[in-house]
Symmetry: C2
Subunit: 164 residues, 2 copies
Amino acid sequence: MTNPVTKNYAHFEDLFVDQKIDLGATKVTKEMIFEFATEFDPFPFHLDEEAANASLLGGLSASGWHTGAIALAMLLENLPSKLATAGGVGFTNLKWKRPVMVNDTIGGTVTISEMRRVKSRPEWGLITLDFDIRNQKDQQVMTMSLKNLVDVRNPAAPIGEALK
Amino acid sequence: MTNPVTKNYAHFEDLFVDQKIDLGATKVTKEMIFEFATEFDPFPFHLDEEAANASLLGGLSASGWHTGAIALAMLLENLPSKLATAGGVGFTNLKWKRPVMVNDTIGGTVTISEMRRVKSRPEWGLITLDFDIRNQKDQQVMTMSLKNLVDVRNPAAPIGEALK
């Protein structure tokens, strides 16, 4: 049963282990930091420029949760084609390695580190996406591993072992 | 060295293992789902009401990353007092257990499951916050464990073992 909307999107069979997606570059502005932090993470070091300038970090920093959301948006923008997905399952090991400061430009890569079919749901595959997010100095600012369900184009194909 | 801004905020010494914070209730509206997903997670099941109604889930669902950000905002809103914090370190085991659908009301609790001083930085303690996020039917929709740095009021106090 092919879904007419997603039939030309990337399916499980179109992806491969060690596939890398370059995330491009996003400048994290004061306005972006304010907007996100006001709604979700209202701490002074994200919202009060004067206090932030006087603090140890010496300036405004983005909410770590914001960095994660930006990384997700960059992945979706930079996928070679749209992805036929039933959504995310969860994350492991999200680490904020260093702060993202105002006017930093972040980028990095996402690597598909693991792929397997879902035995109980032949129409789905589970892929692991390792995020390596860096600033303009090539310093790592965040890592995380996202597990995501991807539609299988041919669910009748035998389900083998994990591809890695 | 007391920080005049945060001296009345909750410090490491004011928190305790097994402390529970009730998150109150937030209704997740169509407008909230659209706004977040447009910026960070632009998939049709978050943005296209007609397509979402026709899908297996039968309606719009919130971005899982959005659910996490809402949970963070609810924690900050419902802390008994402001928190003297140097920010988050990361989280483990974020799991989206079931979708958050449009007009669901989410809530739940955060429990401090572990606390320890940071040996190399006597001015900081590290606390683990276990999120248990549920919908209006008391079904679990998301869990995660966030590690966060909290200022120690008296850094000269001896650093013992972990409190749990």
